[in-house]
Symmetry: D4
Subunit: 164 residues, 8 copies
């Protein structure tokens, strides 16, 4: 549902993060929720990023999902300029296993929260964005309830085929 | 706004976490959003916790804020039973500075996100809950925009009185 | 000895953990102790997991071995519902080397212990389960004494063939 | 129940660990289980420690609880010489918050498990020892089921007096 | 030399960081180098911070020293908008000892360096700013050579009064 | 621009670090800044290193870039003997992911700063050296302003070709 | 010089550590110092290890080098039973990069030191053993002085062939 | 035995480390071994330090004990200039609990070992120095054997007075 009545903005610090961040887009497609997706670096393209975040409410964006690695400032920078929820995805780095990304994203100061998910777990960022929209949209809430029920059924069913 | 048309459920693993978790309640009071607040341990009171989470949607709860320390399972357990956003507050521990709490909360598996904030930062959990409600409520969104503007003005004003 | 008079319940958060957890089963086979083995996630299948744990004493289970990775809540959740020993196996994760799994399992709050073994060391979880049963069963204790003696002999014998 | 038909041996690397380790003894007293309690260092008194561990089965000991800090070898050394369960309590250190103690105790090699509990949590070591004995003793199992039920009731009751 | 022909801009995320950051100012006073000093948060006052950094070259600023704690984005944000050196001072936090601040500041992506000094060591940030100016100013270089010589003499002299 | 009016001295603890450190040289080539490049170990060749650093000002060197891994003392040793800026590049190690290198370089005591960049990020060390020279050289400053502008344009342009 | 007038005892917890520990033997060969080399586990072969350590002085052993990984107790156990220097080599583990091995070896309690070298650096353990013997043997001291001189010359010479 | 036929050189990076480092001196006094004690910083007094280390063999020094904190280079710098054993004492720091000091000291590159003891454990550095001298001096070896025996007796005796 790319670029169709987007309710979610997905941004990432580098196009090398795209394969990971597409997991979030896949979830939004599954729930029929429109989104935008852009490369926007807090450090290399501060103007572009600021413009994206400051005009997002007007474009109808209700949640921003931001992925970044290392000194991962993108989610926090977005949160400083956007009044609705920002979800941060810490990207695993080559050197410190993503611990640097995680701490740079989660340890935000009082007044400017970032909703942080697990390292590299853009799928969960997508699901959290769906849940946020579901908080104000009963149709999406019902889809989420079914999604969770199906996930449970699938997991239980795995016990039938355990190779031991 | 305790117990008045609650839209947010605040739970914590131990009553010793109450002083920290009240920071979230204070923010909700400031925005005029109703909430419930309970001690509910994933480990000591699993039945009570399960009941609280499974019936929350029916009670009108849109977001659960869960604080816990050490092997901090409460936010994840809530997320397994509640289809709307769960915010996790890692409580600082006496031994490992809250690193154990943080990793136990943020590193959730695919399918079950927890929106994690900084260690001990229940204030930000409160603000994130407000933002989640604001995504579906323009009056709250406008309050949040004003809140952020006031925070900016107050911070800039501090430069007038710097003691150097 | 799968499913024969099971005294040990082996559960894991995901079927991808099966190759590691089978090391525990192998030890139980070696000692002739029956076991059950199931996929049961604290987050994806909370009902199934609760049922497994709450009825375990009635089925004759004396020890539960639970393996999980990341925000690894399964052992703690089992310990909240089962009155006999729960052994936790922290599974190594792709991002933080299993440090997240270890802290999520070992740092349990007062009242609800989990007997934690080394990261990925399901073999030791199996041996610990045997020792727990041996505490109330002299035949198993004698087998364990012989097992340790053989391990010592084998290790000393390695000095004969050191390639230097 | 000190020195009365002891079923549990409590040892610690230094007498400065005594206040922490007494939490384990208190639990055993509560369940009416006899125990021995000794200072026995893996490094300063290796002979004494070896003798304590090697003769423990003959004295009727079914579980050893060993507390140690820093390069915390006592639980592993006990496990090398005792064929029944050894529970390790990592003691918090002045320098690395007990992370050194935890890793020194939990990361045991294949063949020689130590059942590790949370840093400084000797209370949980006591409860785990009770659960191990309960696996072969229905009277103790019933006490443990009641203990857990009371803990749950007490925790739920705290909600009546929350000061908010 | 506050506000006199400033060559160095000192900024910090919160006025609570002022006592630490004044150590940098003290060094600049000692070398007779002018500076500005402001509270400017990457998260709470993004506009103010952007304006400060983008106009700094025109005001004659040659180096920016930025101190911040937790998810410490201020130095990186300054570096994205200022073409001359930015020095980052990781401020020690209440929870993770400043490890979060350090990683958030030092692990910058390719293209946007931040010259990071030790946790809380604003004195060294001041000295590094002096060295940067000294690279293009022989008078300051000579003062720095004397400063280092005096530091060496003072340290050696301490051996005369060692209380042993 | 190797060995042509060198303004930057690049040193590294081992010739195995050369591929990483050449990223700094490449940046200096791009800006037309001369440099020297040498293997000089704090531990294996202390005399050679001392001579290199103590005579550097006389040779016209304005910045030293030093890369080292493990107990990475080279940048600090250079900083003790050179009165102008020393930039430290922590080299990733085989065992601790470069955390040892980072802490050995960044945590310098008061009086002797090292300007530390990200692990393995010699490119940023090169850019920081350029910025330091630019603080006293307007031609280089203008090149740096253009460099940053081009980097921004290139990053924004990536959005045209995102494969989604 | 294996088994010829051995002055150094090399032990390791597992024969899988042999390739690493042989680096120590190679250094001893280079200096013409005799040594023994054995697999001796603190946990799997406590009796064999105790005998090796307690009788070592009588066999002429002046230094023990002990390598171990994970909960690495072998060096500390040797130090508890041997009155001359014990050198510990932390072996890198599959899960925690050898941080567990390092802390288990270096953080020994007061009274029982272990001379710890870098993770996997058995070569340095060999050199340290040579230096310990050199403290009482001028011929070995002179060889060590030459060894260090050659190392310095070789390292400086690498500058002639740097491929840039 | 300060300054009497010194066999051990004790150095430290700052006079604030003196109270900790005196624990090493106390042990040497107990064994009747002469020592020198000096403040000598790798960073603030490189010349003084180099002179101390290079002339130490001539002064009869057989072991250097070096204590330092943070980016703790003193032991490694001493080891680069002294052909006999160097013992490193990582001093606990205000920010990272001494983990920075430990890694800066222990992770030395191949060719230049530092015998590292536990954080702040100068007592063990003193004992290790005694053991090194004992390797070439039977009178000291006999004292060390007695010291260990007394330590064992004292520790066992503590069991008589355990307050339980």
């Amino acid at each position: 549902m790319k670029n169709q009545n987007p309710q979610v903005g997905i941004i990432m610090g580098s196009d090398s993060d795209l394969p990971i961040m597409l997991e979030a887009a896949k979830i939004l497609d599954e729930f029929g929720i429109g989104y935008e997706i852009k490369v926007a670096s807090a450090h290399r393209t501060p103007e572009y990023t600021a413009k994206f975040c400051k005009t997002a409410v007007k474009r109808g964006i209700k949640v921003i999902i931001a992925g970044a690695g290392g000194a991962a400032h993108l989610p926090g920078v977005a949160a400083s300029m956007f009044p609705l929820p920002v979800i941060g995805v810490p990207i695993k780095t080559k050197t410190l296993e993503g611990m640097d990304s995680l701490l740079s994203i989660v340890q935000m100061p009082g007044g400017v929260p970032v909703a942080t998910v697990a390292i590299n777990n853009a799928k969960n960022a997508g699901l959290l964005a769906v849940q946020i929209i579901a908080a104000g949209d009963n149709a999406i809430l019902n889809k989420m309830i079914k999604y969770k029920q199906k996930m449970e059924n699938d997991a239980v069913a795995k016990n039938k085929n355990l190779k031991i």
